[in-house]
């Protein structure tokens, strides 16, 4: 396992280096002088010369490449041209928690919904419900995202009037508590959610060993009530809680959109894998033993159906990133995706766009590494391939 981890870790900088080089090549391929193309025509000539000298844009190509690589790896991504003296790195760090919260929330909900939906569809394969479900999932996966978000805004904001329209915090709340750090609030929310998930998972595993369903259900209900109660008290009575509540309220619509979009895809993957799993001998054996249908489905078939998803999932990961980027711009959620859009439209803000692209790709490589290691942990066969002679 150590060896595997080391190999993968060594690959990471290389992948990022290749990605940065790709971005550089793309920038170099632009017609005209590099500095002019990179900085655009919006700046005054003195500023452009100053920046070009500072960022090393006048140097010969190979030197520019080395400077570009060095800057990318040391986080010297330049300064924004629209918010002029603000460093790109500060912009990224400011926007990162907002994107991450949206991404993680929608990602886990997508996986969860897809897992359970696909498991049901695959278990009753060939029935009318399965066919209808499969078609609906495929259609939802191919839906046009801007239209879906417009429809959701119309239904929940226009007709039902229960969700806010856009942005990520109510203006009244923001004015009432000006000194609450919003990014810190987001980090607290994410931390609380992650801790709660882990605690619930651990407690559930512990309780399952007792083998007494009644006790387990009761304890879980108590725990959920307790956590939920504490959380809602925090949300109602503390300043940070109020800010958090407003942010969560604004997060519902984008997360709903992303879930509708992505859950269908994961459900399809899970369904196909589940169909395969139901043919296996151990599932037949479990059925023959007289275990309950539900138990066979959840414990025997679904657990084993997760692994074959690995390859398809790796293909889909980049697209999941994409939809998170897109949904930010349709809901004007002030995250990295929205900033990327703004920096690419109108006059343009190339340093910000380049910085965000490099950062997104680096994050995606790290996510890819994490997934790789996770699969190796879940599937001993992959681990053994590295532990052996090779």
């Amino acid at each position: 396992m150590m060896r595997f981890l080391l190999r993968r870790l060594m690959d990471l900088p290389l992948t990022v280096l290749l990605l940065v080089s790709l971005i550089w090549v793309v920038l170099e391929l632009q017609p005209g002088e590099f500095a002019q193309a990179y900085l655009g025509g919006a700046l005054s000539p003195q500023y452009r010369e100053f920046l070009a000298e500072k960022m090393g844009l006048d140097a010969p190509a190979w030197e520019r490449y080395l400077i570009f690589i060095k800057n990318a790896f040391t986080g010297e991504l330049g300064v924004s041209l629209i918010n002029f003296p603000k460093p790109v790195w500060d912009t990224i760090l400011e926007l990162l928690p907002r994107t991450m919260s949206l991404f993680f929330a929608s990602f886990f909900i997508q996986l969860f919904v897809g897992y359970f939906l696909g498991q049901r569809l695959g278990w009753r394969q060939g029935r009318a419900l399965d066919r209808i479900g499969t078609v609906l999932c495929a259609l939802m996966w191919c839906v046009f995202l801007p239209l879906l978000s417009s429809l959701i805004i119309w239904v929940f904001n226009g007709v039902l009037k229960i969700l806010p329209y856009a942005q990520f915090i109510d203006v009244s709340v923001a004015r009432k508590y000006p000194d609450v750090d919003r990014n810190l609030t987001l980090l607290v929310i994410m931390g609380v959610a992650a801790t709660m998930m882990i605690v619930l998972l651990l407690v559930q595993r512990r309780l399952r060993r007792l083998n007494r369903p009644g006790v387990k259900a009761g304890a879980m209900a108590l725990l959920l009530l307790g956590c939920g109660g504490a959380f809602s008290l925090w949300l109602t009575f503390t300043p940070m809680g109020s800010v958090a509540l407003s942010i969560l309220h604004h997060m519902v619509a984008p997360v709903l959109t992303l879930t509708l979009l992505g859950a269908g895809f994961y459900a399809l993957l899970m369904r196909d894998s589940m169909v395969q799993a139901t043919k296996e001998d151990y599932v037949q054996l479990a059925k023959a033993k007289g275990l309950k249908d539900r138990v066979v489905r959840r414990r025997h078939a679904a657990r084993n159906a997760i692994l074959p998803l690995a390859t398809s999932f790796l293909l889909a990961m980049a697209f999941t990133f994409d939809s998170a980027v897109l949904v930010e711009s349709t809901f004007s959620w002030p995250g990295l995706g929205n900033a990327l859009f703004h920096s690419l439209s109108g006059r343009g803000d190339m340093p910000v766009a380049v910085g965000i692209m490099i950062f997104l790709m680096a994050i995606a490589s790290v996510a890819h590494l994490c997934l790789d290691v996770l699969y190796a942990y879940l599937d001993p066969r992959i681990r053994d391939r590295y532990a052996g002679a090779k």
Partner: protein
Amino acid sequence: MNASHAAASNRWTVKGTLWRKRLSHQWGLFCQDRLALSGLVILGLFIALALLQAAWMAMGVPKIYDPIYGYDFSQAPFSPPNASHWLGTDSHGRDVLSQLIFSVRFELVVALLAALITVVLGTSMGVVAAYYAGSWADALLMRLSKMFLVIPPVAFIFFLSRLGGFNHLTLGLTIGVLGGGKVAMMMKARALEITVQPYISAARIAGGGSLHILWRHVIPNVIPFVFMFVMFIAVIAILAEALLSFFGTGSMDQGPGAFIQMSWGYMLFLSYYQGFFNGGNVITYWWLVFPAAAAIMLFCSSLYFVGRGFHRMADPSRTFA
């Protein structure tokens, strides 16, 4: 001379028969999946409509049905579906149905080009990496494909569209290259299973060169598996095209950006730009929004189901239904 000629023709007859038998068997497998079959029918319908319209336009139709320059003076713009315009007219008084069908050819170009390049690039990279597993070529190709794997395609295409204009050809090319890198990894996994088979060693001992073994023994065995992933890439290509012409055309007048004259995404962009996505307008002026969106949905999911059908043909033991 005569005998050898007869033998040659006989050989071709045998080959043809075998080929026909295999094809009919595969077709039977494909037809078992009713979803794949209906996907194929829907795709065929789209293509047939596109061909019909092309022929009809070449014959010289009334100007009111031109998808880009047409204008019907007898009706106001935004007129709802009626007898002469089955899906109504848009803000410029152009026929929506005509635009919808006219766009099919561009979607096909994007999808087919992306699919073709993905097949060629993905298969060759994966197969070479698997055949020379452990060598520097393998290391290089896998690093490259890992690089492509982590690039979010739509965001990257938006980034590129700022630097230079896209048309349907370059868009299909770009998505194909990005997708080929992605698919190479899956193809390597498949090809690794083939290269350890005894018949590969047998071919090598019999004196077959690397190129011969790759072309005759490895590629035919992995190529059927590529189709499912390829359809996936084709779907992404169409969605990316729609999203690019939806978001990207805003910067068209300010220099390089997307240059896409007509597509489903562009139709949606026009409706959005004129405010038909807002509030109840979506329902009131449904013909400006839903036909194009439904076309994207139907086309993409048909591609996906056809890809599943292909996968079933390649691997009948893997059942989807």
